[in-house]
């Protein structure tokens, strides 16, 4: 429960910077990988909704994309062996698919710098969340 509140707090704190580096998506990815699937879905809905409200393009657009990708990843998770390289690769794919989907769906602007920054910053954030949430650095599952 405390961890759930921590995710929510981290989400709110990261939202103002989400236009530069998509920390919200990193947190969501972490939740999908580590937490209960139902919570992951609700959290995806929250992330999408808050993103839609904070960076308004079309209410519901990001929410649908986030929920769909979350459900997809929850399904694929059972087939993945999540060690650090595959985790980073999975996040990269998820992020690129999400960016492409939003671009197709609502013609959202594609910012190459943001994409590179987000991918580069993901590993330390994931390690940090692992450390804070579970008291470990990222390890093989």
């Amino acid at each position: 429960m405390i961890r759930y509140l921590l995710y929510l707090l981290a989400l709110y704190l990261s939202l103002p910077f989400n236009n530069t580096v998509e920390v919200a998506l990193m947190i969501l990815f972490f939740v999908i990988i580590k937490e209960d699937p139902r919570f992951a879905l609700i959290f995806a809905f929250t992330v999408g909704l808050l993103t839609d409200l904070y960076y308004p393009i079309r209410l519901g657009a990001s929410t649908i994309v986030y929920i769909t990708l979350t459900q997809l990843l929850l399904y694929l998770k059972r087939f993945l062996v999540l060690n650090p390289p595959t985790t980073i690769a999975t996040f990269t794919v998820l992020y690129l698919v999400k960016t492409a989907a939003l671009n197709i769906f609502v013609a959202a602007h594609i910012d190459a710098v943001r994409i590179i920054l987000t991918i580069l910053i993901f590993p330390p954030i994931a390690f940090l969340l692992d450390r804070i949430g579970f008291g470990i650095w990222m390890k093989k599952q």
């Binding site: 709110y12 939202l15 103002p16 699937p37 139902r38 879905l41 609700i42 995806a44 809905f45 999408g48 909704l49 808050l50 839609d52 409200l53 904070y54 308004p56 079309r58 209410l59 519901g60 657009a61 929410t63 649908i64 929920i67 769909t68 459900q71 929850l74």
Partner: protein
């Protein structure tokens, strides 16, 4: 578990899809209502930051105003008698007069002013400037008077050192001197000298000048105390005459 997850997904998907199919106005309306409470922390933070920014700007403006007022205050103090003297008055009034001339033989010794008996001026009334003590009325005409200033050779006024309370006499000799100060009197450079009131002419508490030098003399009892006059006589364009409302013009 798996079924619950699928149902939850369908539910959330449906909720998310609903705004997509709403009209643009309804979509905006819904977004506004949702953001009013979901983004409440950001609104509070933004409001606080804006408030701090505005407060900061206001503080800077007020500091500027204060500095400006300080400058103005300092400039105004140079013009006000009451702010630059220790003049204590209950029954005195001040009459302003303009300096209309000077004695060509003693430029700073005598001043001609544009007030005379018709304005209630009589001999020996005390004359001030914005900076402090100037002198006394020496001669009165119907509409003009002559002021004998502290720069006139031989002019004397009984005075007191404000910080130590030592009495003496300020006299214009070659320099302006504070006389009858004993060798062991604790007078220091920078001390303020004001009228002592030990006189029938000058009221107590008018700033005469400040001690600028002290030297030992050959005199057995007294040392030399040099005073810088408060008023710069050669710059005066107007003066104030102290009128004692409780005293008749017969005083001498």
């Amino acid at each position: 578990m798996r079924r619950q997850q699928i149902l939850l997904f369908i539910l959330l998907f449906s909720i998310s899809a609903t705004p997509i199919f709403l009209s643009e106005n309804a979509n905006l309306h819904l977004a506004r209502h949702l953001s009013s409470f979901l983004l409440f922390p950001f609104r509070i933070t933004t409001a606080i930051v804006e408030y701090l920014a505005i407060s900061n700007a206001r503080i800077e403006k007020l500091e500027k105003d204060v500095n400006q007022l300080r400058l103005e205050n300092a400039a105004l103090k140079d013009r006000l008698v009451v702010d630059t003297t220790h003049f204590e008055s209950n029954s005195y009034t001040l009459l302003k007069a303009s300096v209309i001339g000077r004695d060509p033989l003693d430029i700073n010794g005598y001043l001609y002013i544009d007030k005379g008996t018709s304005h209630g001026i009589f001999e020996n009334q005390t004359v001030l400037s914005v900076e402090g003590f100037v002198g006394k009325i020496k001669h009165v005409g119907a509409s003009s008077s002559i002021v004998e200033t502290i720069e006139k050779q031989g002019f004397t006024v009984s005075a007191i050192d404000v910080s130590t309370g030592i009495h003496g006499i300020v006299k214009k000799q070659e320099n302006l001197m504070f006389l009858y100060i004993r060798h062991d009197d604790a007078i220091s450079v920078g001390d303020s000298i004001s009228t002592s009131g030990m006189s029938e002419i000058f009221p107590k508490g008018i700033f005469v000048g400040s001690v600028h030098a002290i030297s030992e003399s050959e005199d057995m009892f007294f040392k030399n105390v040099y005073v810088t006059p408060a008023a710069q006589i050669n710059r005066l364009v107007s003066v104030y005459i102290i009128q004692d409302t409780s005293v008749s013009p017969l005083r001498d």
